[in-house]
């Protein structure tokens, strides 16, 4: 973990409330897909807690993040422009495993999709066959479809049917036997449904409210099935399916 004064090299609003940003760091981040950056929103002391944002694409000293404008903090980050600096801590957490063979299904919901893009690129390099089911509330939330299609056989879902298939990423998942393992990232109800329906075991990446991001504050403590406690920021955010109680 290091603190970086990252320079924003590009920024684009890819949907009304979804921001895509490319950050330049002075040294390679050496991040794994599934790890996250902890961003301090600029605000002259107004903001105290960093915002965990997963890495969407990474190459050497350049990385891309894609995030939804949820509150004042993410809005303040999105207001920054090319050339502005961002106080970044990272990379943090445990990422997805480095699968080398077979077929991996990527299951993403909303802003759970960006870290799966980083995973897809890595899996493609490893020669793994990739399928993706990515879902959004409606056409105004759809993102990263073309990028995902570069690496994976991709099915897009929207809950209202305004883009792609009408339905959810977990529809008929229980009868999908075309994959060996899965990487899932999205809201908790989606992850619960994935764990319940998927015929194979896999990995889930949690979106938890965090404090420090490196294990010191105990704000993101979760319970494992055996009763032991883990920290989403340090032991996760990627866990084996059914490893932690959702």
């Amino acid at each position: 973990m290091k603190k970086h004064a990252a320079v924003i090299s590009s920024k684009e609003m890819i949907q009304e409330n979804i921001c895509s940003m490319t950050l330049q760091t002075d040294e390679p981040l050496e991040a794994r897909p599934g790890q996250f950056l902890h961003l301090l929103p600029p605000g002259e002391g107004r903001f105290i807690l960093r915002r965990p944002i997963s890495i969407c694409e990474i190459e050497e000293t350049e990385c891309r993040i894609v995030f939804r404008l949820e509150g004042d903090g993410t809005k303040a980050v999105a207001k920054q422009n090319s050339g502005d600096k961002l106080d970044v801590l990272g990379p943090l957490g445990q990422g997805f495993p480095d699968i080398q063979s077979g077929t991996v299904l990527l299951i993403g919901g909303g802003v759970g999709v960006p870290p799966l893009l980083a995973a897809a690129e890595q899996l493609h390099k490893n020669g793994v066959r990739i399928q993706a089911r990515i879902g959004f509330a409606d056409q105004n939330q759809v993102m990263l479809v073309e990028e995902m299609e570069k690496w994976a056989e991709t099915i897009v879902y929207t809950e209202d049917g305004s883009a792609g298939r009408k339905g959810r990423v977990t529809d008929e998942l229980e009868t999908d036997n075309g994959f060996d393992t899965y990487f899932a990232c999205g809201p908790k109800p989606m992850l619960k449904a994935v764990e319940a329906k998927a015929p194979a075991s896999g990995y889930v990446s949690l979106e938890e409210r965090m404090g420090c991001g490196f294990g010191a504050c105990y704000a993101c403590v979760m319970e494992k099935e055996d009763g032991t406690l883990v920290k989403a920021c340090l032991d996760g955010p990627v866990f084996q399916s059914r490893e932690v109680l959702l």
């Binding site: 973990m1 903001f47 807690l49 960093r50 404090g211 420090c212 504050c217 406690l229």
Partner: protein, 308 residues
């Protein structure tokens, strides 16, 4: 001459900067980031007699220039703190202030006896002010008589000096301070968090699972400075001042208000390197101004000696 060093009961400190309890875990996460030998002291997370699993999530929320937390004193229990958490800290030449909490006087006496006799801690910090657990000690933190009785009971069994961490959630902070001083406290830590809450306007419900939490961060600093200023003029035991410290100016404010040492809390989460950064900044400042920590302590209320 070392301009920064401070001698407090049980703690010979290289400088007056130490992390605050609950914001430094048991040091492990920070030990991988910088050499803990730089610190004036280390305050570890509260230990209770038995393990505590803490509160349900969410446990933290941000407010303007502040943070609400309701962790709920999660810790592995005093025996594991002694056997697993404190030994790795012995490699550093830094005093260890061990925070203890409980729900009854017996709890405090038990953990105080175990910790103080473990040979692993320099002093105890009685957490009589945790606002986040039922019976988390705050009942002792708002009533001078029970605070004094508890302090006396712990002093009787402790083999190391005892600091009492005061709650700002009281109408008479000076009365509390004087009560524990006369009961034998060796020092004071102040302040703990202020009770606050935040409501999610989308759902209309409190954000924290615990409903309320402790407010910390720059938002509480003026309250803390005022309390240190007031109390330091009415007690003769040293005060570890804390509440929203994140800059050199904040450190100076607490020292001027009358604190003998200054603890850094929430800022460790924003910037994990904040303590060594403040230590360097303070050293430089003292050098430039040709001052010492002890000479500037209480400057806000002490008569101006140089005019004599």
């Amino acid at each position: 001459m070392n301009r920064s060093s401070v001698k407090l009961p049980g703690m010979d400190m290289k400088n007056p900067i130490l992390p605050a309890s609950g914001c430094f875990s048991f040091g492990r996460e920070f030990a991988s980031l910088y050499d803990l030998n730089q610190l004036g002291a280390v305050t570890v997370k509260a230990a209770t007699p038995e393990a505590k699993r803490g509160n349900a999530l969410p446990r933290a929320a941000e407010t303007t220039a502040g943070m609400l937390n309701a962790i709920g004193l999660q810790n592995p229990g005093v025996e594991k703190v002694i056997s697993e958490e404190l030994p790795p800290l012995q490699q550093y030449d830094v005093p260890i202030l061990a925070n203890t909490a409980g729900s009854s006087p017996e709890d405090y006496v038990y953990t105080a006896r175990r910790l103080s006799r473990s040979g692993l801690v320099s002093a105890l910090e009685l957490n009589i002010s945790c606002p986040n657990v039922k019976d988390g000690g705050i009942q002792f933190g708002s009533d001078p008589e029970s605070a004094a009785a508890l302090t006396k009971a712990v002093k009787e069994v402790s083999s190391v000096p005892v600091y009492v961490k005061l709650s700002p959630n009281t109408s008479d902070i000076t009365g509390m301070a004087q009560a524990v001083e006369s009961a034998g406290a060796d020092g004071l830590s102040m302040i703990n968090t202020l009770i606050g809450m935040k409501i999610d306007v989308r759902t209309g419900r409190p954000i924290l699972a615990n409903t309320t939490g402790g407010l910390s961060g720059p938002a509480v600093k003026p309250v803390a400075v005022r309390m240190v200023y007031e109390v330091s003029q009415h007690v003769s035991i040293p005060i570890i001042g804390m509440g929203g410290v994140s800059t050199l100016e904040d450190v100076l404010e607490f020292l001027y208000a009358g604190a003998s040492a200054v603890a850094v809390g929430t800022a460790n989460f924003t910037n994990p390197w904040i303590c060594p950064e403040l230590i360097t900044a303070l050293d430089t400042w003292l050098e430039e101004k040709e001052e010492t920590v002890s000479s500037i302590k209480g400057r806000s209320w002490k008569p101006c000696m140089s005019a004599l």
